[in-house]
């Protein structure tokens, strides 16, 4: 009994000491405003670019200082949801459009509609701006995007007698023909890492007139028609009728599938545009590669936009200052520098042009950057049940289809009935 009393006393003493030691260190109202900016930049060059922009801001704005809080992409959704609920979210939040829409719907993000300058609004392509507009409110500034790009082994294409496509776009039929022409012996025409195919199919569906999602929020519904099924069916036909896709790549991630491109096992590979920088760095010296023009379906070369974004915590005491900082951050030269470092596509036209002028044709940049004008709104961003449907219904259904365990009819049925089940 005596020892229990001692233990309780010790606990109380410890707690008191801890409270005294760790009490809030917030200063009073005097002094400069400090904005916390949770940044997810992961590449050393992008981290340096971010730090440089923030440093420039801090020098120019002694009364509003920005403090970078670096964070990783892994687990950041859980971190943010806890921070929002705990009232401890940073002022400025870096994340992707697909994930912040739900935060906006739950009322955690400030409406930036009136705080975004006309200059910036006019500089952001409509499809990209739509991806950060929820219920007519701009809830974030888009900063960086990636598109899906075809990288080709020029030597293998030329050896097969294929003329390297040029021009603004190339059709999916052309891709299929080139893949067939270059498939010979141990070489396959295409390698495409489709272990998690939903994102690619959803992003590229607009080119075929597919949107998958109609409506928004809880009222959203999935529609699977010709436009939605066109790309999965094309991939299936190339893999099993033409046998022009290296089969193992269908079960690999994009990064894994690139190894067979380096080894000359595949003549082409579909990758995120940022891979251009990796290919330039890692590909064997004798690999003569080229980025092919953006792929266009019957409806055009559109791809659904899921940009990285900067948004403002609605509970921030300095929403206006935060928006001003984001305006500064998204200036042409800043976005160009950041996207060059990250090997991504700037979300503003002026930054895309600045980067094109600076980098020219090097490493396929002009082709990749040109695709920045082809982004369109992604309806799936605004459907509440999309994330759950993607993980539990769509991805397994596509995997079964690409493994020939189901046919087209079953795939379409699984995609729609699966949505109905999780939204009931």
């Amino acid at each position: 009994m005596k020892s229990r009393g001692v233990f309780i006393a010790a606990c109380l003493t410890t707690s008191t000491l801890l409270l005294a030691a760790c009490g809030s260190a917030d200063a009073g109202d005097d002094g400069p405003v400090t904005l916390k900016f949770q940044a997810l930049s992961d590449q050393p060059a992008a981290i340096a670019a971010t730090e440089s922009i923030v440093e420039d801001w801090n020098t120019a704005n002694p009364d509003v200082q920005v403090e970078i809080v670096p964070a990783g992409w892994d687990g950041v959704y859980d971190k943010l949801i806890t921070q929002f609920n705990g009232g401890a979210a940073p002022d400025v939040i870096h994340y992707e459009a697909a994930s912040i829409v739900s935060f906006a719907r739950d009322g955690y993000l400030a409406d930036l509609t009136d705080l975004m300058s006309e200059e910036r609004r006019a500089d952001i392509p409509e499809g990209i701006l739509d991806s950060v507009t929820v219920d007519d409110q701009v809830i974030a500034y888009p900063t960086e995007l990636q598109s899906y790009v075809v990288f080709a082994n020029r030597t293998l294409l030329e050896d097969a007698g294929v003329e390297i496509p040029t021009g603004d776009t190339m059709t999916w039929d052309e891709l299929r023909e080139i893949a067939q022409a270059t498939t010979e012996g141990d070489v396959y025409g295409l390698g495409w890492g489709l272990s998690s195919p939903t994102a690619a199919f959803m992003s590229l569906a607009p080119g075929f007139g597919g949107s998958y999602i109609t409506g928004t929020g809880e009222d959203a519904d999935v529609t699977v028609g010709e436009g939605e099924m066109a790309l999965p069916e094309l991939v299936h036909a190339m893999a099993y009728d033409d046998e022009s896709i290296l089969p193992v790549t269908l079960t690999q991630s994009g990064s894994e599938a690139i190894a067979s491109f380096y080894a000359g096992q595949t003549a082409m590979t579909v990758q995120g545009s940022y891979q251009a920088a990796n290919i330039a760095k890692d590909a064997p010296k004798d690999l003569d590669w080229v980025a092919l023009p953006p792929l266009a379906g019957p409806e055009g070369p559109q791809q659904a936009a899921n940009p990285q974004t900067l948004s403002v915590n609605i509970d921030s005491e300095h929403v206006e200052e935060s928006a001003e900082f984001i305006e500064f951050f998204t200036q042409t030269e800043h976005l160009a520098a950041l996207n060059e470092a990250d090997a991504l596509i700037p979300a503003t036209t002026s930054a895309q042009e600045a980067l094109t002028e600076k980098l020219g044709d090097e490493n396929g940049w002009s082709t990749i950057l040109a695709s920045g004008q082809n982004f369109t709104a992604a309806p799936y961003l605004f459907a509440d049940s999309y994330a759950q449907w993607k993980d539990t219904v769509a991805t397994p259904a596509y995997q079964r289809y690409l493994a020939q365990e189901t046919d087209e009819t079953e795939l379409a049925d699984q995609l729609t009935s699966g949505w109905d089940e999780i939204t009931q």
Binding site: D42, G75, Q146
Partner: protein, 275 residues
């Protein structure tokens, strides 16, 4: 036939060690490969050329060494707290009968039921109220709380394995309760304490989620949080630097284990003599 048994045992042992050690060997190998080689179809355990830049890049990024120091502080502090609390508590739990023991066991079992994601929000709010979010002290308390139930369960098993008759014999020889505990129970319990300490240390050293949510300032980040920044968006992974960072991250843990391993062996022998 009998002469073949010993070589077969060695072969089996070698296979087992290789099986256990292969991931570490692969990690070491990946840490000195260039990104070109890591993205090649050619699979070599030994790198074609040694690429030490990964270590330089890992050390240069995001304060890896500082994060390791934070992890060490939190892991050692929470291990000490866990042992300090679990040692007497486990004795009580193992030796006492009745309602207290039942309640204790119930608490241990119930505490293991809740998933981390469920407890993080209330925990965050409590810690925020007392000013302990974004603090190594707060994280240490959380790690201690999270590890304690299992450590308690583990240690009470070791206590239960010590025959009560030894304590009774000590008492009959004139030893007081404290003397019996200090001279008989504690030495026999040493291997269990060491094993529990190892478990606590590893739990805290590797813990990611609580640290991710509770820590806000880079200067407070622990090693798993810093290593997670090597994995970027859009599927980008800095594989070489990540492997190098993971190798460096394993070193303090290996040092701790090698020290504790000696204690573990010593404890076992002490127990054998007294038993």
């Amino acid at each position: 036939m009998r002469t073949l048994v010993r070589p077969a045992q060695y072969v089996a042992l070698a296979c087992y060690i290789l099986f256990l050690g292969f991931p570490l060997l692969w990690l070491l190998s990946a840490s000195v490969k260039s990104s070109g080689e890591l993205n090649s179809l050619v699979v070599n355990l030994l790198p074609q050329e040694w690429h030490w830049e990964n270590y330089a890049e890992a050390l240069a990024r995001q304060g890896l060494v500082h994060s390791a120091a934070n992890s060490a502080i939190v892991a050692l502090a929470s291990t000490a707290l866990v042992i300090l609390i679990a040692l007497p508590a486990s004795y009580v739990l193992a030796r006492l009968k009745g309602a207290i023991r039942t309640a204790g066991v119930g608490w241990i079992l119930v505490s293991q039921v809740f998933p981390v994601i469920l407890v993080i929000l209330p925990l965050f709010l409590i810690l925020r109220t007392i000013g302990l979010t974004d603090s190594l002290v707060g994280l240490t308390l959380v790690h201690t709380t999270y590890t304690l139930p299992f450590a308690l369960w583990m240690l009470q098993g070791y206590v239960a394995a010590i025959p009560v008759e030894l304590e009774e014999a000590g008492a009959m020889d004139g030893g007081s309760r404290l003397t019996v505990l200090r001279r008989i129970v504690v030495p026999l319990l040493a291997p269990g304490v060491v094993a529990t300490a190892m478990f606590s240390f590893v739990s805290s050293w590797n813990e990611f989620f609580f640290a991710l949510v509770l820590l806000q300032s880079p200067e407070n980040y622990t090693l798993p949080i810093t290593l997670s920044t090597f994995i970027g968006g859009e599927g980008k992974v800095a594989l070489g630097p990540l492997a190098a960072g993971s190798v460096l991250a394993a070193i303090p843990s290996i040092v701790f284990f090698s020290i504790m391993q000696k204690k573990l062996t010593g404890g076992l022998m002490a127990g054998a003599v007294k038993g």
